[in-house]
Symmetry: C2
């Protein structure tokens, strides 16, 4: 598959339906690839939900509890509300995105997080997203390098230094202050992107989406069959605890979800299946 990023220049908002279609098709591609790693054919289960606190909208959570993925959740949402949470001046809003977190049976296989989102308020619109990798106690330089070089490739067409900027933003964002460490080995993160060229921004955002599977699938193919023991599993549980701490105490997506009266099942579907402290 090739992607053409030379779409015509425009400064107007994108069609919501076009954005939503891209997100849903990406969600489907991710699910198909992930399911291909399940040895006994376990499947994602899809559950629609309504955004009852807002004007309209909802989403679909797809969750798998499988033999490769102890738990993985992919959530697509598209919601409209009267008041943008935390910023009264912005008036009503529209938010759509896909977010995903994996928790692997094999502790040698890292957790990955991916999210892309598009937001509109009455006065603004912008793009956000990224992906980042969290080894659960078993860090591997080759994985880290592959993951980051794929991220770099995704961003290369859109400006020199963009990868470095977004990599730095990820390092800052995915930091656990009370443990004085980064959540994992980083990745890329961006938010509030609107350069004035909406087609360029949309293309950059899609490129991040389109490169996600390439960033993680080779790592999973190599690692999901590796031997591990009970002690490795215990290590994974403790690292998952730190992951849960970050998600609940700091993550903006989680806070946005809580503050906008989102569906807790959807917001927290990314929590680890089992964590220890």
């Amino acid at each position: 598959m090739t992607f053409n990023y030379k779409t015509p220049h425009t400064t107007s908002k994108p069609e919501r339906q076009v954005v939503v279609s891209y997100l849903k098709s990406l969600r489907d591609r991710i699910i198909t690839d992930f399911e291909s790693l399940e040895p006994h054919g376990k499947k994602f289960e899809r559950k629609p939900w309504d955004y009852t606190k807002g004007k309209s909208g909802g989403g679909e959570i797809s969750v798998i509890r499988g033999d490769t993925f102890e738990k993985a959740a992919v959530n697509w949402s598209g919601v409209e509300g009267d008041k943008f949470p935390g910023q009264d001046a912005e008036g009503s809003f529209f938010a759509t995105g896909v977010s995903l977190i994996t928790h692997m049976q094999n502790p040698k296989a890292p957790t990955v997080h991916f999210n892309i989102r598009y937001l509109e308020t009455e006065t603004k619109f912008w793009w956000g997203g990224g992906f980042d990798l969290t080894p659960m106690g078993f860090e591997n330089d080759r994985d880290t390098s592959h993951f980051h070089s794929t991220a770099e490739k995704a961003l290369a067409p859109f400006g020199e230094g963009l990868y470095e900027t977004y990599k730095k933003a990820a390092a800052e964002y995915f930091y656990i202050p009370h443990r004085q460490k980064e959540r994992g080995v980083g990745g890329i993160f961006f938010d509030h992107v609107n350069t004035g060229d909406a087609s360029r921004d949309f293309s950059m955002w899609k490129s991040v989406g389109d490169h996600f599977l390439e960033s993680i699938m080779p790592i999973y193919r190599e690692r999901i069959g590796m031997p591990f023991n009970d002690a490795d599993k215990e290590t994974q549980y403790l690292y998952r605890g730190h992951y849960a701490e970050f998600n609940l105490a700091y993550d903006r997506g989680t806070r946005f979800g809580f503050n906008s009266g989102g569906n807790p099942e959807a917001i927290l579907c990314s929590m680890p299946p089992l964590a220890k402290w």
Copy 2:
């Protein structure tokens, strides 16, 4: 044991050393009673820690991983810092307290949380505390009633309606907004108490401390030997997840700890040993 709350009227700050001595002796009483419930003599392990981010001070975490208490943690702390977190105008501060959370092997035995704390800034001093009960899926009216009536007894000498006020405060404080439910069956909660009569406030605060064991020990004696099965245990793990959500996303004590650069091991020693989502 009887307690005399008719100490002389005073409006001046209490002696820090007197407050700290009370807290440490209460901590010791709690540990002794809890250890009496361990069938194979498992003991709390005490670990001192230093408040390296502040001016001086530290604390002692006592943790047991036993046959009755899957995990219980009692933390005493006494710290001094240059800047009261979140309130610059208050200048330097002193904070001391005992806090405790239990996670039981038997899912039929509820989790209990207890905390009393004393704070001083350059301009003010105040008392806070309370205790609250969280059944892990197995609620019992008789337990709830015993727990609340002990709380009522603790507060009765200090003013009509005090129990009702603090009970209401607990219901409001221990609320999980994103799940639209209270964390458990409530208890009492108070903060920023300074009536102008320091000896009365200190006595009220001690009465809460002195009644804690009476509120929980009869419940534990009855419940720790009850039969339970794997499904009950799974229920407990899910309720523990909600508990972890509250602690990380909303609890003021946890946030105060994070924001004041406290020891993460001490702040998070109350997290469940094992939780599921």
